[in-house]
Symmetry: C2
């Protein structure tokens, strides 16, 4: 049997709170029996739910936390009221103390980011954290970051994101040794885009890092095609890309549903072609790729969608498991140390000639 992996869970996070987190953790445990949990939450609410899942109860330690961060608390409010004593804070802190390898919360994103940064601090050599999302593509999955941790990023920060994303890609995509990394831009020519993206492109090209294969710029429609393993962008554009893709997928599903339920013939056809629809559903199931990974801190925190169900939460826990097994934080730290030993990046004074 594999080594046990302990994950800390904010049992109160998410729209449904413990009623979703506990069955989700139980599902994840069924799939990965080597998981162990430390759960933080209101004992009076969590214990009865835990009693219904004896295997999970046996694999977990429940720690009472008196404060719950609400889904609509502002980050500053959450920090004031919930530092030290909220279920969210304590779950993050378990990563800091080393009790847990990774933390998962379906709670308020802004609060989770603020608390994670406050508690774990950014890694040496990293200025800003990023949220990495796993994006379903035609050829499998890609990692896209930053999808909203920080607004705006300079060239060096984009390079940091590239390195962190590549480390995560090696952890998540078992077969990828030297992940293909691209910068998201409004065109693929070197003259396109804003100054930060162009400069980051030059830095990555010239650095020719052993950890990643920088392939140049990609555009928005290349993300879903899965042309690279990692797509790097600053948080404003990344968040808009992610939400727009989610919105488009929902919109298409709704058009299709409206069409299918319109006539009995269409309904019959739907039943016969159900395998096709199931395939689409499976390929685009947001629950399967649930989990935004906070990178750049001294420890990994995973944000699950607040509105997800037990199945979706189990996916976020599985992702946490993968990150823990791969020892993601150490991998990123090693990459950074290696890069800094090499003297960081020295951009050429003049941009190179264009392709």
């Amino acid at each position: 049997m594999s080594k046990q992996i302990t994950i800390s869970l904010d049992a109160m996070g998410g729209d449904a709170g413990p009623a979703m987190v506990i069955p989700g953790a139980a599902l994840a445990l069924e799939r990965r029996p080597e998981l162990r949990f430390v759960l933080f939450g209101d004992e009076a609410k969590v214990r009865p739910l835990l009693d219904r899942h004896p295997a999970l109860a046996a694999a977990s330690r429940l720690v009472h936390a008196e404060v719950v961060v609400r889904m609509d608390d502002k980050p500053s409010q959450a920090l004031r009221a919930g530092r030290w004593k909220s279920s969210m804070w304590k779950a993050i802190e378990a990563v800091k103390t080393g009790e847990a390898a990774v933390c998962v919360s379906a709670g308020n994103t802004g609060a989770l980011m603020a608390m994670s940064k406050f508690c774990l601090r950014t890694m040496a050599g990293i200025e800003r954290q990023a949220i990495a999302a796993i994006w379903p593509t035609l050829s499998g999955e890609s990692i896209v970051l930053d999808v909203g941790a920080t607004i705006g990023a300079d060239a060096q920060q984009l390079v940091d994101f590239a390195m962190m994303g590549a480390a995560m890609a090696r952890a998540v995509f078992a077969s990828v040794e030297r992940p293909k990394v691209a910068l998201l831009n409004v065109g693929v020519e070197e003259v396109k885009g804003n100054e930060e993206v162009k400069m980051a492109g030059r830095l990555l090209k010239e650095a020719d890092l052993p950890e990643l294969d920088y392939t140049g710029f990609v555009e928005g429609d290349d993300i879903g095609r899965g042309v690279v393993d990692v797509v790097v962008t600053e948080g404003f554009a990344g968040n808009i890309a992610l939400k727009t893709a989610e919105g488009t997928a929902k919109q298409m599903a709704q058009h299709l549903k409206a069409g299918i339920t319109r006539t009995w013939l269409a309904r019959l056809g739907y039943l016969l072609a159900k395998s096709a629809f199931d395939r689409l559903k499976e390929k685009m199931d947001p629950r399967k790729v649930n989990g935004g990974v906070f990178l750049g801190l001294n420890g990994v925190v995973i944000k699950s969608h607040g509105g997800t169900d037990a199945e979706g939460f189990a996916s976020a826990v599985s992702l946490a498991y993968d990150m823990a097994v791969a020892d993601l934080t150490r991998r990123i730290a090693d990459g950074l140390a290696h890069y800094h030993r090499a003297g960081g990046m020295q951009p050429a004074a003049e941009p190179r000639g264009e392709a």
Copy 2:
């Protein structure tokens, strides 16, 4: 019969050039008999095609242009080689001289933007042009701008985009008197986003313009839901949103297609449920919303997708017709004049309290 409307066409633009443009124009004419065209292109290539469409030939004037801007020319190259004498330039110039009400080209976007700006110049009071796209939504269509004309925009430019987009919305959506306008952001709370977007939000709120109903921030997934008539953003994020949505739609269609053709039962089901698929296709048909409208210049230029077919090009021409009938340029100029008479926007020294 309605008043005749003359549209100038770059007959050489697009991947297929005149072989797509001429049948496209013929289709548009069938639908809008009051259309008249002035066509610019290589006479030896265009004339034989035109001869196959006698109605179009009768409604058109063909002007020879010796230079063709290639799809991969850089804007600076195109300007050097094609100013004054290319089919693209001449088509734009026809708007300047007043011979045509609107210009349509399926040619090289960068070249078309550069030439349009050089030939028509930005309107008084507008610093930068924007490209507006019509975006299919669950509730119909919305206008999204800027989708890539300019990288980065300050608060005042975003306000300009809002006014131009609202003028276009009144032109395109017949029933909308005071279009709902929102700013694209990474959250709906007033504290979210970058400084430019926050400031633009304050300006629009305080100005309380008669021409538009500013509703606040929307996120990427709200675009496809069609919650507002106009979504305003700067060109980098807007281009990424547009391309990402296109990519996601293609990705889903491809998953569905792969699923449908897999088994004979699924194929049969597809035939029975065809109305549902047709509905989806129709709702998401990129050809139906083909045409990026260049706004902010002294004249309207419409960019058709380069890879579109005759049907798609006809849509772009129909859009041009609508813009011409609505006298879009004058509408925008009137709105700007009104706004400047009112002394422009004076932001309050301090941001207002948050909602």
